[in-house]
Symmetry: D2
Subunit: 127 residues, 4 copies
């Protein structure tokens, strides 16, 4: 399971150095997860309406090169591992093939009360 999206860097996302702020990369990775889910036929907005939430419990990001305003970036997102309650994703963000950042995240499934819950069966990876 892998999905590629294109993101254009917005003006208020860069900082005084003219670089995409390092915190914004995490927002792009979230977009990658959401579009990967959509490509599998699921809307995260709908999941939340049904009481299924995913929270980020761990992030690791290695920044290799800066991204600048108005550049078009390509983000590849893939599922690395899925357990009953957690999903691990890996990300590669590139501009014209040049690797800008690599990252890994772990998200956990929680209910409306914020407590851990099993990932619904319909989201389980197909055999």
């Amino acid at each position: 399971m892998e999905q590629s999206i294109t993101i254009r860097v917005r003006y208020p996302e860069v900082d005084a150095m003219g670089y995409l702020h390092h915190s914004r990369f995490l927002q792009y990775f979230e977009m990658g997860r959401i579009e990967l889910l959509r490509s599998l036929g699921f809307s995260y907005a709908d999941l939340e309406k049904q009481g299924v939430f995913f929270v980020v419990v761990k992030v690791e990001c290695r920044y290799k090169a800066p991204a600048r305003y108005d550049e078009e970036l390509t983000l590849v997102t893939r599922v690395v591992k899925q357990t009953q309650v957690r999903i691990d994703h890996a990300y590669e963000l590139r501009r014209d093939g040049i690797l800008l950042a690599e990252a890994n995240t772990t998200i956990a499934c929680v209910g409306r009360d914020g407590q851990l819950m099993a990932i619904p069966d319909f989201l389980a990876p197909k055999e």
Copy 2:
């Protein structure tokens, strides 16, 4: 009713020009409204828990001079007018007395359903 707060410009709030992004001013004005409310003894977080929300229905902002990263700004917020469902605020944002921006907003009281509702009596201005 008037309240003054100090805000230090954060790094990811400035843009590639090194200026506080014009959209961020509105976030500062919201902080001004919230602190004005707190100075009157009310917590906006608590109001929301009680089902009392305020949404912005109108903003006018005139930008006079830029603010830069790490500068300490002073924001004066005051109530200009209050009706049964709306409150008008005025704002002046300054650095060392220099006017950076003047603004006016109208907020409306809504319930959990997003429908207009009367501002609770305990928030009504004292005679």
Copy 3:
């Protein structure tokens, strides 16, 4: 001169009410201006490299209805008036034809030093 773009509301752009934060609308309007410029053959990123900057000097926005996470919005941006140093834009943001917000901005052309300068001839409206 008018340009329409589609914007999908991102997760960190909505607030605790689940509504697109009112400050984010201004970031969308900026995207509208930039894409209008691109449709005319100009890159704002390139203009900045040439020392031509535009700063927002005035914003008026009337919010009519909320936008929510993951909704696809349509923003129409048009030039209302252009003088030697200023451009006035008008905006209409809609979801499925429903008007969510109307706005007007004035931007001014400045140089690297932040001082007003004449809008370069190549950006002047064609007769």
Copy 4:
């Protein structure tokens, strides 16, 4: 070298779940680094004017519990290791003693051209 700061969660920093968005934690950690520097007598804004920049090359963050709008959080930032070009920091973000997140970052010193450079002597840790 360790520094503690207090941060109140702002309204547009929380997401539709009412939780501080996970990307915002990185912005808080940056504030921690900047205030740690200030406590040592240095202004990051001034360093940048002198052509000394720090870019984030690595982030690891483990999220333990959510933070909500208007909560007052305490962030402890400390230097773990400093080489000629890099500084490693560790962070603990708490609310009323409860650990919300632990993180580590590596920042590298770069010049105006974005190339690695030695951290200036005046920033070297005192013996």
